[in-house]
C-alpha cells in the first residue's frame, strides 16, 4: 500500500497525465464539436490534478522533511514540473499514446469508468479533503463516462472500419486495465466489469478475458512514453527555473 502522500500523488498523476493526453487533441479533433469536447475533458482532468497536488503540497510542507525527496517548499507546480519519470505514480494506461480516435475514446471510457467507482468509494473517505475532491470531480467524471461510452458504442456499432479500429484498440489497451485494480477493493473491479460488459454488449464488441497484467506505474516503473510527455510538459520549468507564464 502507498502512504498518503504517495497515494495522493498517484491520483494526481493519473489526472494530470490523462489531461495531458486529452489536451493533445486540442486543435486536432476529428470535428470541431469533438475537439471542444475532449479539450473540455482535458481541462476537467487538469483541474482535478490541481486540487490533489495542492493538498499533497500542504502535507509535504507540513512535514518539512528534506529526506522525503521533494523540492521544498512544495507547491502544485513543483510536484507537477520537478519530478522525474521514476517519481511519477500514474497507471501505465493513462500514459499510452493517443494513437487514433478509437484508442483515445476507449481509454477514456475504461479509465473514467474506473474513476467513477473509485471516487464513489472515496466519497466516504475519513479525510474530508479527499472526500470533497471526490464529490467535486465525480460530477465531471459522470459526464466523461457518458461521452466516451457513446463513442465506444458508435465505433463498435458503426462501419467496418470503425469496428476494426475499436477492436484493435481493445486488444492494445486490455493488458493495461488490470493495473487499475491491483490496490483497490474487489468491489471496484466487479462494478467496472459490469459497466464495461454492458457497453461492449451494446456496441457488439467482445470483452476479452482477464489475462497478463502490465504493471509498474505506481512504483515508478513506466513505459517509454511517459518520459516524452514529461520532456514536453516540464521543458520550460527545467530550462528556465521558476519562470512564470
Amino acid at each position: 500500500m502507498l502512504n498518503k502522500i504517495d497515494y495522493l500523488l498517484h491520483l494526481a498523476d493519473n489526472a494530470l497525465i490523462m489531461g495531458h493526453r486529452c489536451s493533445e487533441w486540442c486543435g486536432h479533433g476529428p470535428v470541431l464539436e469533438q475537439d471542444i469536447a475532449i479539450s473540455n475533458i482535458a481541462l476537467d482532468y487538469i483541474g482535478q490534478s490541481r486540487y490533489l497536488y495542492q493538498y499533497t503540497a500542504e502535507i509535504v510542507n507540513g512535514k518539512n522533511d528534506p529526506s522525503l525527496g521533494f523540492t521544498l517548499p512544495a507547491s502544485e507546480d513543483t510536484l507537477a514540473y520537478l519530478r522525474d519519470t521514476t517519481e511519477y505514480k500514474n497507471h501505465l494506461l493513462v500514459e499510452l499514446p493517443n494513437d487514433d480516435w478509437a484508442v483515445t475514446t476507449l481509454r477514456l471510457f475504461l479509465f473514467s469508468t474506473y474513476q467513477y467507482y473509485l471516487f464513489t468509494q472515496l466519497l466516504n473517505n475519513e479525510d474530508t479533503r479527499i472526500s470533497a475532491i471526490a464529490e467535486k470531480t465525480l460530477k465531471e467524471v459522470t459526464y466523461h463516462v457518458r461521452w466516451s461510452a457513446d463513442w465506444v458504442i458508435r465505433l463498435g456499432d458503426g462501419t467496418g472500419e470503425s469496428k476494426f479500429r475499436i477492436e484493435k484498440a481493445i486488444e492494445q489497451l486490455w493488458p493495461f486495465t488490470g493495473e487499475l485494480f491491483l490496490n483497490n477493493d474487489a468491489f471496484i473491479e466487479s462494478e467496472w466489469n459490469k459497466k464495461v460488459a454492458s457497453i461492449f454488449d451494446e456496441s457488439g464488441l467482445i470483452m476479452p478475458k482477464k489475462s497478463w497484467i502490465q504493471q509498474g506505474g505506481m512504483q515508478g516503473i513506466h513505459t517509454e512514453h511517459l518520459g516524452f510527455i514529461l520532456a514536453e510538459m516540464q521543458h520550460l520549468q527545467r530550462a528556465y527555473p521558476n519562470s512564470e507564464w
Binding site: N40, A42, G47, R50, Y51
Partner: protein
C-alpha cells in the same frame, strides 16, 4: 462608498449585506451578464474583527463551477478589485469544494438573464439522470422546443451546443450539473 465613513459602517449590522451587494456587481468573465452571486459560486461572506488590526478582514468563500474552469482565477482577481474599489483592503478569498457547486444554485434572476443573453438556462435538477438527448430545451431566440443536441460540450465547460430546428439558430445550453 466613501472610505471615511467605511469604518463606522463596518461595525454596523448589514455590512455583510453591503459586501454581497458589491459582489452582485462582479460578473462571470465568460458570461458577462451573470453575476457571480446569481451563478451561485459565492458561498459565504464574513467579517473578522481583529481589533489589533486597523481594518477588519473580509472573508469571501467561493466554489468552482468546473474543476478546470479557467475563469476561477479571473473571478478571484475581479472580486479583489471590486472590494478594493469599494474601499476594503483586507480581503481573503477561500475556495471550498464541498458541497460541490450545482446549477440548482443559479438564481431565478440568473436564469432569466442567461436566457435574455441567448443561453438556454439549465432545465430540471442536477443528477436527475435525464440524458441530454431526452431533455426538452427551449430555444432562447424563438422559444421553440423543436431543438436538438449538436454536442454535449460547448464553448465553455458549463455549456452544451444545441440548434433550433425552427429558427435554425445554434445556441448554447447551460448544462445541468
Amino acid at each position: 462608498m466613501n472610505s471615511d465613513n467605511r469604518d463606522t459602517m463596518l461595525l454596523k449590522e448589514g455590512t455583510v449585506d453591503a459586501i454581497w451587494a458589491i459582489l452582485e456587481k462582479v460578473n462571470d468573465p465568460e458570461i458577462p451578464v451573470l453575476s457571480i452571486v446569481d451563478l451561485g459560486i459565492v458561498r459565504a461572506v464574513s467579517i473578522d474583527h481583529d481589533f489589533k488590526e486597523a481594518e477588519p478582514i473580509i472573508k469571501i468563500t467561493i466554489t468552482p463551477t468546473y474543476s478546470g474552469c479557467p475563469a476561477m482565477d479571473v473571478i478571484s482577481i475581479q472580486i479583489k478589485m471590486a472590494m478594493i474599489a469599494a474601499g476594503f483592503h483586507h480581503i481573503t478569498i477561500d475556495q471550498v469544494l464541498s458541497p460541490a457547486w450545482t446549477t440548482d444554485w443559479i438564481t431565478e434572476n440568473g436564469k432569466q438573464q442567461l436566457k435574455a443573453y441567448g443561453i438556454a438556462p439549465p432545465v430540471g435538477k442536477s443528477f436527475d439522470n435525464a440524458y441530454l438527448e431526452h431533455l426538452v430545451i427551449e430555444c432562447p431566440q424563438c422559444n421553440s422546443t423543436n431543438t436538438t443536441l449538436v454536442s454535449a460540450f460547448g464553448s465553455t465547460a458549463c455549456k452544451a451546443l444545441f440548434k433550433c430546428l425552427d429558427c435554425k439558430e445554434p445556441f448554447d445550453y447551460f448544462k445541468c450539473h
